[in-house]
């Protein structure tokens, strides 16, 4: 057996696995940089997955069928924005504790998606979904081609979002505001930044990205919807933001590490290597826990006011 080929396969499966995590985690990074910790990411992804899937299911065979994935993507992103807005209302305007509100949002999204799916869809049904768009020429590069240049449009978008997020966060006035309201909201407020508005904006952006991450799962990865389709990826994304020290590049690294570990784990099972597969399944999660435990002394510290509501008239 060709070891290089095995490696190529592990990577060609693992790299696309990372797209959903990457999109959701980059979105969550904006939330957390702005000081809001959104555990509801998982729920937004579930809604995104369902709404991304639904048009393809309803329009199957109809004249509009070729447009269904695009409509689904738009619906998923919009639902993410609205859920982000809802989360902002609860945690920014009403200053509810973010952890509890996040768990609430997670259950709301997950439950709603499941209920609607039973109502409109019934059982598990496949859809055509979105196929890979190999880039002519580049996809023929030996070894790397099939890994990096034969992805779905989501994949290219996800990886493109890494430099874009970095640019937005560090090189635009809006990114400056986001970082300021997450670290020292009172200072930002005294310098004329609208703390609540900035946090809302970050939550809407984060919500849209979580919605897209969900749509990726149903439209491109699984090509169907089941109510446990997200399977904890939203929570992993939240963990990856810590793991990635609130920086797009490290988040990319974390997403890849986790996804490749997962694909490696699959390979072990598929190839029938004599290794207790339960341990292999644990591997990615153990990795995340280990890195989280050892990364706490890092010099790149997180947003200081993460998780704390801001109230201008409250005493410092």
């Amino acid at each position: 057996m060709n070891l290089l080929l095995v490696l190529q396969n592990i990577l060609a499966i693992g790299v696309p696995f990372s797209v959903a995590l990457l999109l959701a985690a980059l979105g969550e990074m904006f939330n957390q940089r702005a000081g809001v910790f959104n555990l509801g990411c998982e729920g937004i992804m579930a809604m995104g997955a369902f709404l991304g899937f639904l048009p393809s299911f309803l329009l199957k065979g109809g004249a509009l069928a070729p447009w269904a994935p695009a409509i689904g993507i738009a619906c998923a992103a919009l639902a993410g924005v609205l859920l982000g807005l809802l989360f902002g209302l609860v945690t920014v305007s009403f200053r509810a504790p973010q952890g509890i509100a996040g768990i609430g949002l997670q259950m709301l999204g997950w439950g709603t998606a499941g209920t609607l799916s039973r109502h409109f869809v019934g059982g598990v049904t496949g859809i055509p979904g979105i196929d890979a768009w190999p880039i002519p020429g580049l996809s023929k590069i030996p070894f790397l081609g099939p890994i990096l240049f034969s992805m779905t449009p989501f994949g290219y978008f996800g990886f493109l979002m890494v430099p874009i997020s970095w640019y937005v966060l560090f090189k635009t006035p809006w990114g400056l505001k986001v970082r300021a309201v997450g670290t020292h909201p009172r200072a930002a407020d005294t310098m004329g930044t609208n703390v609540a508005r900035t946090r809302y904006q970050a939550l809407m952006l984060g919500g849209a990205m979580a919605g897209l991450a969900g749509a990726y799962l149903s439209l491109a990865q699984a090509k169907m919807f089941a109510d446990d389709i997200v399977a904890g990826r939203g929570f992993i994304a939240v963990a990856l933001v810590y793991f990635g020290r609130w920086h797009p590049l490290y988040i990319l690294g974390g997403s890849l590490l986790f996804s490749i570990a997962q694909s490696f784990q699959l390979a072990i099972q598929v190839l029938g290597i004599d290794f207790p597969y339960e341990f292999a399944v644990m591997l990615p999660y153990v990795l995340v826990i280990l890195v989280l435990a050892f990364a706490k002394n890092s010099r790149l510290r997180g947003p200081a006011e993460l998780g704390k509501p801001y109230n201008r008239e409250k005493r410092v």
Binding site: F170, T172, P173, A180, T183, D189, T190, M191
Partner: protein
């Protein structure tokens, strides 16, 4: 409209009232600042100075009252409105985002300086250079704020405010965290600036008030107690007007009553957070009934020494003995049990639990003792009775002992800590910058208590940067420099010049008279 005026020639507030739950912070305050004037606003902690300034800055909304600029009424709903009108403020706590550079902080506050879609720091840098040259305020635009010392951050605050185009300056206790030299420089700079713009200056140091201001307004419990020309009144007059009684900072005058050594630190080596030896073989002794002052520029190991004495930081080597008991290696709980009292540097985060009530904070070190607990249950009545008694004895001003301690003013928080520590009858007390940022009334109160403690035979280690405080209270003064005790001299022989030289690390010829 005032917004377009080139200069602010008059700022007037009329009948400003602001209520917080349970407190009337500002009670119909009126004042006026005219062209070329520097108004000093003084008053005890909690008098309402910061609240009034935050109202002027649009950060708080007044319940009643009006603000006029150049005669026309203005209303500030957000700090942006105040900036637009030309008011700039240096806040009591720095309003800088620590993990951003100076230029980024300036860009954050000014839409013109940062570009619309692409962050353009060039304009912010240029503006910073222009301001720092004009006023002689050296500031590095690309330094991260967290890398700067307190004095440098203060300078950045001022530069930042000027970059935003302030035409009227408010400075809320700008000198409380500065070293004496930095303070002198700031006061000189502000005096020059009054020619360009009127300003309001808040300070507890009457020497600064006298040096800088030409008008003074005194607030007491949210009301204007006095307004007049600075030149017409002596510091003593102002202090009396401020506190409502004559202030006399007490001196250590009673006879030498020192007994045997109670607290002995030997060859202590402690690492700082950054890993180097912040204490590098420091030794000192405090006797019963003695106040040992520890002088030094902050950052020379004081924090680590205090942490080690309280058991919050482990010593690499050396020993700490209290009345013969070895303390190094013990847990804070055991050190407290051995009779160590501790007034920490950071009263908000180390001295109290801000969200706990005054009563709970007062029993924080004894909640498990039979006095306040019956088995696993707290005896809340006993705690409340204790709090009521201490509130009276230590003149803690709070709406009730059930109020969260974090909502009290600095002076009253310090009284809560002092009450808790002293009521336990400690053998030794470590007091770290105990009067930093406090008003004269609170300072006088704390000084008196420390001297009483000395008379009761307690060993007091007083860590401070204020030379007057050290010389007034101490029996002996030790000087710490780069983690070692450079010299220990009797307080009678200490002069400002001699201490200043030692604090700068200049070793004396004849050496210490330890």
């Amino acid at each position: 409209m005032a917004k377009n005026a080139d200069r602010i020639t008059e700022l007037r507030v009329e009948g400003i009232t602001k209520r917080f739950p349970g407190t009337l912070a500002c009670d119909a305050i009126s004042l006026r600042v005219g062209e070329g004037e520097a108004l000093a606003l003084v008053g005890e902690n909690g008098a309402g100075k910061t609240t009034l300034m935050n109202i002027l800055m649009g950060l708080y909304q007044p319940d009643e009252g009006k603000i006029f600029i150049n005669g026309s009424p203005v209303r500030f709903r957000t700090p942006n409105d105040a900036y637009a009108a030309g008011i700039g403020m240096v806040h009591q706590h720095f309003m800088l985002v620590p993990n951003m550079t100076v230029a980024e902080n300036v860009a954050l506050g000014s839409a013109e300086l940062r570009g619309r879609f692409r962050l353009n720091l060039g304009a912010a840098r240029a503006r910073i250079r222009q301001i720092s040259e004009r006023y002689g305020l050296a500031v590095l635009p690309d330094a991260y704020v967290w890398q700067l010392s307190v004095g440098e951050q203060q300078r950045v605050e001022l530069v930042k405010t000027l970059c935003f185009g302030a035409k009227f300056l408010i400075l809320d206790e700008p000198t409380s965290a500065l070293t004496p030299q930095e303070t002198d420089e700031l006061i000189a700079l502000l005096s020059r600036m009054t020619a360009d713009m009127p300003l309001i200056f808040i300070s507890h140091k009457l020497a600064e008030v006298k040096a800088l201001s030409n008008k003074v307004t005194i607030l007491r419990a949210g009301r204007v107690a006095f307004s007049g020309d600075t030149a017409d009144h002596s510091s003593a007059d102002l202090a009396a007007l401020m506190t409502g009684h004559e202030v006399k900072l007490p001196c250590n005058e009673c006879a030498d009553g020192c007994g045997e050594t109670l607290l002995a630190v030997r060859d202590l080596k402690v690492r700082s957070d950054r890993g180097h030896y912040a204490l590098d073989g420091a030794s000192l002794e405090v006797r019963a009934g003695e106040i040992l002052g520890l002088a030094g520029v902050s950052g020379n190991g004081q924090r680590e020494l205090a942490d080690a004495l309280a058991g919050l930081r482990s010593a690499e080597s050396g020993s700490i003995a209290l009345a013969g008991t070895e303390l190094s290696g013990l847990a804070p709980r055991q050190i407290i049990g051995a009779g160590m009292g501790y007034i920490p540097e950071d009263r908000q985060t180390e001295g109290i639990v801000p969200s706990f009530s005054v009563s709970e904070n007062l029993t924080l070190k004894d909640f498990a003792s039979p006095r306040f607990a019956a088995g696993p249950f707290l005896r809340l009545k006993a705690a409340d009775a204790n709090a009521a008694e201490l509130k009276k004895r230590y003149d803690i001003r709070c709406p009730s002992t059930a109020t969260p301690a974090g909502s009290l003013s600095g002076g009253n928080i310090q009284k809560v800590i002092l009450a808790r520590e002293l009521a336990r009858g400690p053998k030794a007390l470590v007091a770290v910058y105990p009067t930093r940022g406090l008003d004269m009334g609170a300072e006088e109160f704390i000084h008196k208590r420390l001297l009483e403690l000395r008379c009761e035979g307690v060993a007091v280690l007083l860590i401070s940067e204020e030379l007057d405080e050290l010389m007034n209270l101490s029996d002996r003064i030790a000087v710490i420099y780069k983690g070692r005790i450079l010299a220990t001299i009797p307080a009678q022989e200490a002069t400002r010049a001699r201490l200043g030289a030692l604090m700068a690390g200049l070793r004396e010829e004849e050496g210490a008279t330890a």
